[in-house]
Amino acid sequence: MATYDFIFDSLGLRGWCGDADDGTAGGPMTMEQLLAGGAKAQPAEETFGLSDVWNLPFPSLDALNAACPSVARTRDMTRGVEQSFLAVKDGLKVVLDPLTQPLSWLLEGALYLFQWTPWWLMIPILALVVFYASKSARLVGFVVGALCFLAFIDHYSFAMQTLSIIFVCACLCVLIGVPIGIAMSRSDGLQRAMIPVLDMLQTLPTFVYLIPLIFLFSVTEPKLYGIAIILYAIVPVIRLTDLGIRLVDKEVIEAADAFGMTDRQKLYGVEIPLALPNIMAGVNQTIMMSLAMVVIASLVSAPGLGVLVLRGIRNLELGVGLVAGLGIVLLAVILDRVTKAALARVNAASSLPRH
């Protein structure tokens, strides 16, 4: 009958298998059936020829199940994952909901603030911030020009929505990520434990973040995309804080110890200032990654330019999508230039000794 009958026969497990008819009774479909749109699988050939060897199926869960119905099928497994997730979901929700509620408030508050401020106030404020960060009049000119352009083509409020989300998420990434990075630099054990987690966060396809989050929180809650963005974008800040502090000149740390600095004095007076160029490089990457994620997060109701891109795809409105994409590029350039300029200033202020 099925290819792998002989395994169970030779191991004398036939009795355990319960000898069901053809292995398709009850339960969810096999992966194959699922993909074939629910059509019944072809019954196995009776004669055994060369072509059977060529087409020998891998002894997968589904193939083994065909021989012995007691073996779980792959779909049973995915359903198991689903059910165990659903089982812990309620418990998780009780803990996570109140914990993450402030995130929703922050996002809503920022969204409101950025949109409530009239454009003729907002653009000068942003220009001031840019000037403070970069001390470069040219960059201020570029930023103001870009924002005015976006406003001119009526993308101003979308851009502000996107900016407000990035603002909140990037700030939280720094607030959470820098202490984690410092802790990692202090303990080799923690570093070993965190690196695989960070690797996973960085390599998981962005959509996969959204799947469990959709189950946990309702799609209308801002914290849903807030968490997705933070999880994705926090990685570089953590990594580079850890790296930056570990790279601080050992002799300078020795000097700090030799003059009797407390751990606190050392952290704020020596380690963080000397690690600042690296931390700032991490912040730059974090902001860029937030921007990438905020576009994808429009799938789960994040407002902003991403919504327009999504509309362009959904309704095949080519122009809408492309122009929104251009807006995102403009925002990306603005954010990148400003943070890089700030980074360059930090570097210049604390450039290392010549020797």
């Binding site: 000097a255 030799a258 003059f259 009797g260 000794p353």
Partner: protein, 354 residues
């Protein structure tokens, strides 16, 4: 010269590795540095060190690279914890101190100058110089005055607003020294403080150190791998080899009576005329010779200066004076003999090595 002992290191051992306690047992049973590394995977940093450092003295620790000089000086302020032994400072065992007490000692008793300066690159020269006092919580207004004073003293007056990377290496090291001086600590630890400097600046800095020491009488532990420097600065010289003391004592004494082929080899290249002093080769208390003396020399003059005065004539003798008092006679022939390196140097370790 030494009056009272200020820092006393007793039976100090330091072993780097996974299980220093076990390795310590092996070392005490006579396993050497090379064997310990090859067979047991531990590095013997320091082995049974006993050194007394006198109050107001400059104690110079000398040795080749890797002989454990930095390791030793870092034990004095416990930047490195020993495997066994005692470190007694002003009569108290530093190893018994808790973190709080240790910090207090580092803040008030000791300051340190580093080979690669170790200045804070993001702080101005003035802030760097005032670092020790700032750490203690003293007001900026108060420590800035002190910082400026010492910066002035080391020749960096008016540069306080600059950042370390705007200064040359020699200037940066002056900042390092000003930083140590501004802490007003009675003990100064200097780990190869002048090694990174070029010869001219280096001589300047040595002179400056001696000049300052003449006023301040600090207890200085100075590390060097340069014999000329050690001879110039040391009141007490400690020579390390593979983590153990091979000889220690008055530098002139070591130069004239080396007790180990390693030291003989070490001193064979030195310009003896420049470092040996009249007091080390004179006949103390001897009467003036019958043929009379060619003049008077000071007991602390170098032989080089005496040779210059004699014009190369070896038939004279000089009367040796110290503080206006006659203390002995210097015979030129004895002087010339003292210039010949110790015999063993010719067949010493270097011959065997090459």
């Amino acid at each position: 010269m030494s009056k009272t002992t200020r820092i006393s290191i007793r039976n100090l051992y330091k072993i780097f590795g996974a299980d220093p306690e076990r390795a310590l047992g092996l070392v005490r049973n006579g396993v050497g540095k090379a064997d310990l590394l090859k067979k047991h995977g531990h590095v013997l940093g320091l082995k049974d060190i006993n050194v007394d450092m006198g109050s107001g003295d400059i104690t110079v620790i000398m040795g080749l690279s890797g002989s454990g000089k930095s390791t030793l000086i870092r034990h004095v302020n416990r930047l490195i914890e020993p495997t066994a032994g005692e470190i007694v400072v002003d009569g108290e065992d530093v190893l018994r101190y808790d973190a709080e007490r240790l910090r207090d000692m580092r803040r008030k008793q000791m300051s340190m100058v580093f080979q690669h300066f170790a200045l804070l690159p993001h702080r101005t020269v003035r802030d760097n110089a005032g670092m020790a006092q700032a750490v203690r919580g003293i007001d900026r207004k108060d420590y800035e005055r002190d910082a400026e004073k010492w910066l002035d003293r080391v020749g960096l007056g008016g540069q306080g607003h600059q950042y370390p990377h705007q200064l040359s290496g020699g200037m940066q090291q002056r900042v390092g020294i000003a930083r140590a001086l501004t802490s007003n600590s009675p003990i100064m630890l200097m780990d190869e403080a002048f090694s990174a400097l070029d010869p001219l600046i280096r001589t300047d800095m040595q002179d400056l150190l001696l000049e300052l020491q003449g006023e301040l009488h600090k207890t200085i532990v100075f590390i060097s791998h340069d014999l000329d420097e050690a001879m110039k600065l040391a009141d007490h010289l400690v020579i390390l080899k593979d983590g153990a003391v091979v000889q220690q004592g008055e530098p002139q004494e070591i130069l004239l009576h080396p007790n180990d082929p390693y030291i003989v080899d070490f001193i064979s290249d030195i310009n003896r005329a420049r470092v040996l002093r009249v007091r080390s080769v004179m006949e103390p208390g001897a009467p003036d010779p019958e043929e009379g003396v060619a003049g008077e020399v000071d007991a602390d003059d170098t032989l080089e200066s005496v040779i210059a005065r004699s014009g190369g004539d070896t038939s004279h003798s000089f009367r040796v004076m110290q503080g206006g008092r006659r203390v002995g006679v210097l015979n030129m022939q004895k002087l010339v003999r003292a210039l010949v390196p110790t015999r063993a140097a010719e067949g010493g370790m270097r011959k065997r090595a090459t």
